[in-house]
């Protein structure tokens, strides 16, 4: 049932790199362990540090299909697990002949063809390599955690009318969270945990260079240092890796090859999205 995809931590690093995702020891080791131990991996961290991208890249690196459950307020079992196609069921019941017994009809309408499979069930039933991404778990209501807990403990789902469906092959599960709220201790205990933070300067520079190869190394270095200075300002929304990348693209598009004060002033809007952050940065960095 457990079929590990990675041979070693180094193998994780190499293959993720091949898929365009640059890791460090922490990321590579944790992904390796999630794969080896067959445990779900909970990735927490600020917006835009590459949580979602990590799951996607693991799928790409292992030739697995990515199945994504996007969480939101109000997400329920019917959207996460499965649902009966009641319209089709009603049609079937109404079309039944008078001499059909209720039992027969019952067995009929609660059969596979009336079942609408949702991401969790779909992922569990697959026999090919699968990465299940449960994205932005903190956006879902607390009740959904209970549901996840059940599914992720035994990798099985019970449908009263059909019986228990057990994973033929465990999907590699990634849960992401922005930590806008704390997930339950029980869920955390069930998962391996990776706190993904802004990368160190070196790795961020490498990421920028790999995503925007046109940018000169010197400029990338300057850019990353400046972004780090911005992050130290206690802004409402600190610039993330996505913003670093966007900034590099912008500078390239404008044909700028050094990040002097004028260049920063002209392009700061790419990096800071809130007006109040913009003001605060301008004052503190004395960009007038």
């Amino acid at each position: 049932m457990l079929q590990p995809q990675f041979a070693s931590v180094a193998d994780v690093k190499e293959r993720l790199h091949g898929a365009g995702y640059l890791t460090d020891d922490a990321i590579a080791t944790t992904v390796f362990l999630a794969d080896r131990l067959g445990k779900p991996l909970l990735i927490e961290g600020p917006a835009g540090v590459g949580k979602t991208e990590l799951a996607k890249s693991v799928a790409a690196a292992t030739n697995a299909e990515l199945i994504r459950l996007q969480c939101y307020e109000g997400l329920d079992e019917a959207r996460a697990l499965y649902e009966w196609n009641y319209k089709k069921q009603l049609l079937r019941i109404q079309a039944s002949k008078d001499d059909d017994s209720w039992d027969e009809i019952h067995d009929d309408v609660f059969a596979e063809e009336f079942l609408l499979s949702r991401p969790l069930l779909t992922a569990i039933r697959r026999t090919e390599p699968t990465v299940l991404l449960i994205d932005e778990t903190d956006k879902a209501d607390v009740e959904v955690e209970g549901l996840l807990l059940e599914v992720l403990s035994d990798f099985q789902i019970t449908i009263p009318e059909l019986g228990t469906i057990k994973a033929a092959r465990r999907p590699l599960v990634f849960l992401t969270s922005n930590a806008t709220r704390e997930l339950s201790e029980a869920l955390k205990r069930r998962c391996l945990y990776l706190h993904l933070d802004y990368p160190d300067a070196e790795r961020e520079k490498a990421i920028v260079l790999s995503r925007v190869p046109e940018v000169a190394e010197q400029l990338a270095e300057q850019l990353v240092r400046t972004v780090r200075a911005l992050r130290s300002l206690e802004l409402k929304k600190s610039p993330s890796i996505s913003e670093s990348i966007d900034w590099a693209r912008t500078l390239v598009a404008l044909g700028l090859d050094t990040l002097d004060e004028q260049a920063v002033k002209d392009t700061l809007g790419v990096v800071l999205k809130h007006a109040s952050d913009h003001e605060r940065a301008a004052t503190q960095l004395k960009l007038n």
């Binding site: 009641y86 607390v142 205990r189 004060e261 004395k286």
Partner: protein, 465 residues
């Protein structure tokens, strides 16, 4: 490390985490053991990460975790590495063993801080601790001190000349300087941490890990007294306030099942329709969503509880997302509504600054007056507290021997759904001096909440689920 030895180390390390206040469950211990079987044990960072993935589930605990990991799984033994460091050709000018001359070492440190190579810096830290950090307190009995190292090298005083170098002619005072400073500060802090960690390692070799690890870790942010929290502690607490608010809200949420007014439950409806020839005569509905309660926070923001007030207002602010209606009132010797300062998505620091500038909190002399504040609250906001309201009073009840307005508070408590008074002062001091705790505790349940852990306990145990 052989197999048996490793297992013992693991258990001892996990125990040390628990002693430091990090919960580790049995399931997590088992995970860690399996993880160690899967990784390359010779790779120390893999080992650290394997433990961290299995047992470290709150970012706020990372520093403590790392300190203890470095003690229980040290990167080196004894002096061995100093010799290794001496092989770095560019650092060893004469081919002699490194001299322990502080001025030469300072110059070397400057170079390393400029370069920013972490590995070299770490080796250097090891070397200087061995050269400068030792003191022989008694014959045959040595000790280790990071202050000796940091004082003779005083890395912070290198800032000016490092800036000069990094800025390389660029204008001072602007963006470039800010960026350069940031970079240098990061590296200096890194070096200081390396020295401290190295000193702990040497101490642990001399005195045993258990002994050193007990003293090595700072209290976790959630254990720090509100009334004594530093700025860093406050920043950490701020990060913890949202999760706490959520748990508080879940506890206060009344779960009421309201018959058939919820969403249609298709499965049950279809099943029922089998009995009526497929016509859904009887509809079934999902239980109603739990309704969100209303919260009123009445918060002392006088000087004696400044740290606590800061925290509780942040809490009230975080709670806004969890309750249908949150109203916050602050008082010193009179009371004003401050809800308007805490807009969703707003900045907490700004809100606090605006509140102190604009809210009417002082009426007479700016010393706490609970009695007058409570009367003002009841008078000016008569419909703030009702049968659906949870009322939280936050303060130390240090009332400067003034009137208490007990009957008014009693009436408020009776009108509300729940009412609690959270007091940040150690309960041992309650009732001493000008504390009106005893009187108030007669009419409202008073709980000692000195730190975030106690607040969480309060949330978990005292509030009705």
């Amino acid at each position: 490390m052989n197999g048996g030895g490793l297992l013992e180390r693991e258990i001892a390390f996990l125990d040390a985490l628990r002693v430091a206040g990090i919960q580790v469950s049995l399931a997590e211990v088992l995970d860690a053991t399996r993880a160690l079987g899967a990784i390359d044990l010779m790779e120390r960072e893999q080992l650290r990460q394997a433990f961290s993935a299995c047992v470290l589930k709150r970012p706020a605990h990372r520093t403590t975790f790392n300190t203890l990991f470095d003690l229980w799984f040290p990167p080196a033994l004894g002096d061995s590495v100093a010799a290794e460091f001496a092989e770095e050709p560019q650092l060893d000018e004469d081919g002699d063993p490194m001299p322990a001359d502080p001025s030469v070492l300072r110059e070397l440190l400057k170079q390393l801080l400029l370069e920013g190579d972490e590995e070299k810096l770490r080796k250097f830290a090891r070397q200087v601790v061995s050269d400068l950090g030792r003191s022989d307190s008694a014959p045959g009995r040595q000790s280790w001190f990071s202050y000796k190292v940091l004082r003779s090298l005083s890395p912070e005083t290198l800032m000016a000349s490092l800036l000069e170098n990094l800025l390389a002619g660029q204008e001072k005072g602007g963006l470039a300087e800010r960026v350069a400073r940031q970079t240098i500060n990061e590296r200096i802090r890194q070096f200081q941490e390396m020295v401290e960690s190295e000193v702990r390692r040497r101490l642990a070799e001399d005195r045993g890990v258990e002994q050193v690890s007990k003293n090595a870790v700072q209290p976790l942010a959630e254990q720090v007294d509100f009334l004594r929290a530093s700025r860093d502690d406050m920043a950490e607490l701020r990060r913890q306030v949202f999760p706490l608010a959520r748990r508080l809200a879940t506890r206060l949420t009344a779960r009421r099942r309201l018959g058939r007014s919820g969403r249609l439950d298709f499965r049950r409806t279809v099943r029922a329709s089998l009995g009526t020839g497929g016509v859904p005569i009887v509809t079934h509905h999902r239980p109603h969503k739990p309704h969100k309660p209303e919260l009123v926070v009445l918060c002392d923001v006088s000087g004696s509880v400044a740290g606590f007030a800061h925290f509780t207002l942040m809490l009230a602010y975080a709670l806004r997302e969890q309750f249908t209606k949150v109203r916050a009132f602050a008082f010193i010797d009179t009371c004003d509504e401050v809800t308007r300062f805490f807009t969703p998505g707003g900045d907490v620091a700004d809100a606090l600054a605006r509140m102190s500038a604009e809210a009417q909190l002082v009426w007479f002399d700016g010393h706490s007056d609970y009695g007058h504040s409570i009367e003002t609250f009841a008078e000016r906001y008569p419909d703030a507290v009702g049968p659906r309201t949870s009322l939280l009073v936050l303060g130390d009840a240090r009332n400067n021997y003034r009137a208490t307005a007990l009957p008014t508070l009693r009436a408020l408590v009776q009108k509300s759904r729940h009412a609690y008074w959270l007091n940040p002062e150690p309960s041992a001091y309650w009732g001493s001096g000008d504390s009106a705790t005893a009187q108030y505790a007669d009419v409202i349940e008073m709980v000692e909440v000195r730190n975030a852990v106690q607040l969480e306990d309060f949330v978990q145990r005292l509030l009705p689920a």
